[in-house]
């Protein structure tokens, strides 16, 4: 019989339904409500900042990355996450520059997708924090109509924000640290407080995270370990020294939700072993409490995650899974 040309592949000849772009775009999809919440609370400024950071990421990936890499969705995640860590009044050009740095120096110099050591979005944010410390800690006052810009978003490139354009407010963590004032828990959970764009929508973030965990697109152990560590440590400290904030305030304030659910769980920069995930999450939680309560900064989620990112190769090596047929389960 006339033989057509057949495929010749190595086994296995079938493939499960998951693919890397599918994982990435699912994460993007769960971030859409988080962005929506940011826009709900902060108005058009939120959209401007997040669009700028995302554009910076996509453009850099497109220009300097391998062909077609934009389509895998990972740069879009970085852009959205970076935008969500920024204050609503940030000039757009700074957000865009942060995106360029995040992809260029956070990912591409390491060799692109899968090769980077640090979470690119957080690296971008760390760069911005070092370059423009004032703009990154200018929190707008939330008064005024929804449609009002929350700062000098449209400042020309290389120009700093016009200070007159911004009425500054404060974040719950800042209030706690520098003025010793508490914020109502309900407002923290719902997100109607000052802060970065994505710091405020705890419920939406948790729902997105739960969905991703069910799909196994993120390792549930990491956020659970972080939350448990932060809650237990701060409860203990609160017990010894009641002037320090309690567990619930620590959990729902600042960037902990976004950081624990979306950044610490970045597959590339977190451990692959189950035991490693617990250690990683514990480390982040402990560092967050340390920095927040005794460090010079009001918030420490970014540095905690970046520090633990650096340890991931060592954690992975130290937590190799038990080989089948070794240890006490093996019958000699």
């Amino acid at each position: 019989m006339e033989a057509p040309r057949f495929e010749l592949t190595a086994s296995p000849h079938i493939k499960g339904p998951d693919s890397t772009p599918r994982i990435m775009w699912t994460v993007v999809a769960t971030l859409v409500p988080v962005v929506g919440a940011a826009v709900w609370y902060f108005g058009p400024s939120a959209l401007l900042v997040i669009s700028a950071s995302t554009a910076g990421c996509l453009l850099t990936e497109r220009v300097f990355g391998p062909g077609g890499a934009v389509r895998d969705g990972s740069a879009a995640i970085t852009g959205l996450l970076l935008g969500l860590t920024l204050p609503p009044g940030l000039p757009m050009w700074m957000a865009g520059l942060g995106g360029v740095f995040a992809i260029g120096f956070g990912k591409l110099v390491f060799g692109g997708l899968g090769q980077n050591i640090f979470n690119p979005a957080l690296l971008g944010r760390a760069f911005l924090q070092a370059a423009f410390p004032e703009d990154l800690t200018t929190w707008p006052d939330m008064s005024g109509p929804w449609s009002a810009l929350r700062g000098d978003n449209l400042a020309l490139p290389l120009m700093s924000a016009d200070p007159v354009a911004t009425v500054t407010g404060a974040t719950p963590l800042g209030l706690m640290k520098f003025e010793g004032t508490d914020t109502e828990l309900v407002r923290l959970v719902l997100g109607s407080t000052g802060g970065s764009l994505g710091e405020t929508a705890a419920v939406v973030i948790l729902l997105g995270g739960a969905y991703l965990a069910l799909k196994k697109y993120l390792d549930w152990r990491i956020p659970v370990a972080i939350f448990a560590t932060v809650a237990l440590l701060s409860a203990l400290i609160h017990l010894l020294d009641p002037s320090k904030p309690g567990a619930l305030f620590m959990l729902f304030s600042g960037g902990l939700m976004l950081g624990a659910v979306y950044m610490a769980t970045d597959m590339v920069t977190s451990p692959t072993t189950p035991r490693g995930a617990w250690i990683f999450g514990f480390g982040i939680g402990a560092l967050v409490v340390l920095i927040r309560l005794w460090g010079g900064l009001p918030e420490g989620v970014m540095y905690s995650i970046l520090l633990m990112n650096a340890l991931v190769p060592f954690i992975d090596r130290a937590t190799k899974p038990r080989l089948f047929g070794t240890g006490k389960e093996a019958m000699a």
């Binding site: 019989m1 693919s19 997708l113 451990p271 019958m331």
Partner: protein, 454 residues
């Protein structure tokens, strides 16, 4: 330890089982094709030694190649005919292999002959082993390991269990399923022969729960005088891997680098067990086997009794041919089988099935970098770190793979590749790495300074 509910091991994957195409299709006998191709290498171990020459006439069941040593079995003519050629011929493993080409005599009635295998009654274990080797019996689950070797455990090891592998965890395949449903007595007879030969008191048949009719048939025909348990298993791949089955049934893990015998168990595939019984029943050696020809690329998916050596093209023709969108032909299951490019390739003793995948079912071609998602770690049934192993393989660090990441414990089940979202051919890389290490070892051995004899 044994429970009425399904049992299983940790990790593993859940590919769609795709068995509905043939699971209720009764086994039919395929008529003799005009030509057969019988490779001398159809089993693990040494290839058989050729006994015939071009032009020789042989009867059905005649030995055409004899066992060459202990880990080797003879090859028999699966039909009466004339040796047309002895030539290099495409082999299912992708190479060309020395093969006897047999022109089948169309007028031959292919009638049964006086016994070529002795009656089982009254045989000693040693005689049974000899008959099994003489009958050319190998494991029919795919690896084709000579069965008589498995029947001869070292005297210093105490055996407790005979585990009969009826899991058939590979998607699509239904040969073991149909064998258990249609020939349950034969399975139990095979179990009796093996238990007697091994001197074990307990046998457990593990069957995945997607085959309730097979479980029922085996329960119904269970002999009263033997301790045989039919154990339902959770449907999960690779449930039928020896180590997984042993873990599930006995609770023991075969120590790394050791054999099932070291935990007191012998595992035998249900099809092989039925074959042992069959050669004693019919008196004919292993010259035919049950094969599932299936997949959406085949017009008439079937379970067939196929003469060993029937060529792929003839078998497919008998099943109505291929559909227009047929894209890949696999011998064995889709998880561990091998792709076939050539219609002349024969189905051999170890061929469990022919699976034809269509355009839509073949693997995607695009791969992405490893994003360290860890899905492969959750899939690996022997708890390796395939993600790390894959990166090391790409870097050519084979020794590190072996020494620090236990490459040699990998059984190439393909679970990691199946789940990898980046579509990285992990198990292919591991198979390659193992080969590289083997080659390296051979080179080292060959270049080692020879002891001075003088």
């Amino acid at each position: 330890m044994l429970s009425f509910f399904g049992m299983t091991f940790s990790h593993g994957v859940h590919p769609p089982d795709s068995k509905s195409l043939t699971e209720h299709v009764a086994i039919r006998r395929m008529p003799f094709p005009k030509r057969l191709a019988l490779p001398l290498r159809q089993h693990a171990g040494k290839p058989a030694r050729l006994l015939v020459r071009k032009g020789d006439r042989v009867q059905r069941g005649d030995m055409i190649a004899e066992a060459d040593g202990y880990v080797s079995v003879p090859i028999h003519a699966s039909a009466a005919g004339t040796v047309a050629a002895i030539d290099w011929w495409p082999h299912p493993d992708g190479t060309m292999a020395e093969t006897v080409i047999l022109d089948v005599e169309p007028w031959s009635p292919q009638i049964p002959r006086p016994r070529l295998v002795p009656d089982w009654n009254g045989l000693t274990p040693a005689q049974v082993r000899k008959a099994v080797q003489g009958g050319g019996v190998v494991g029919l689950g795919g690896a084709a390991f000579p069965t008589h070797v498995k029947l001869s455990p070292p005297a210093d090891l105490e055996l407790e269990w005979l585990l009969v592998n009826g899991a058939e965890c590979e998607p699509y395949l239904t040969t073991d399923h149909r064998t258990m449903v249609e020939f349950p007595e034969r399975v139990h007879f095979g179990i009796r022969i093996m238990m007697q030969c091994l001197g074990v008191q307990r046998a457990v048949v593990g069957v995945e729960m997607n085959k309730p009719d097979a479980i029922a048939a085996l329960e119904r025909t269970k002999p009263a005088d033997l301790d045989v348990t039919i154990q339902p298993l959770v449907v999960k791949y690779p449930q039928g891997a020896e180590k997984m089955l042993i873990k599930v049934v006995t609770g023991r893990e075969v120590p790394s680098g050791k054999l099932p015998m070291h935990v007191g168990a012998v595992v035998q595939n249900v099809g092989s067990i039925a074959t042992i019984a069959e050669i004693f029943e019919t008196g004919l050696p292993l010259i035919e086997r049950v094969v599932t020809v299936t997949g959406s690329g085949v017009r008439r998916p079937s379970n067939l009794i196929v003469p060993v050596g029937a060529m792929l093209g003839d078998v497919l023709d008998y099943c109505g041919g291929l559909t227009d969108d047929a894209a890949e032909i696999v011998f064995g299951g889709p998880m561990m089988g091998s792709s076939q490019p050539d219609m002349r390739t024969p189905l051999v003793k170890g061929t469990t099935g022919v699976v034809v995948l269509t355009d839509r079912e073949v693997k995607p071609k695009t791969t992405y970098p490893c994003i360290k998602c860890g899905h492969c770690l959750d899939a690996c049934p022997v708890f390796l770190n395939p993600s790390r192993l894959g990166l090391l393989a790409q870097a050519g660090r084979y020794e590190e793979m072996r020494d620090a990441y236990h490459l040699m414990d990998c059984m190439l089940c393909g679970s990691c590749s199946y789940v990898c979202p980046s579509n990285i051919p992990l198990s292919q890389m591991f198979s390659l790495s193992k080969n590289m290490l083997r080659k390296q070892q051979d080179l080292v051995a060959a270049s080692a300074p020879k002891k001075d004899v003088a």
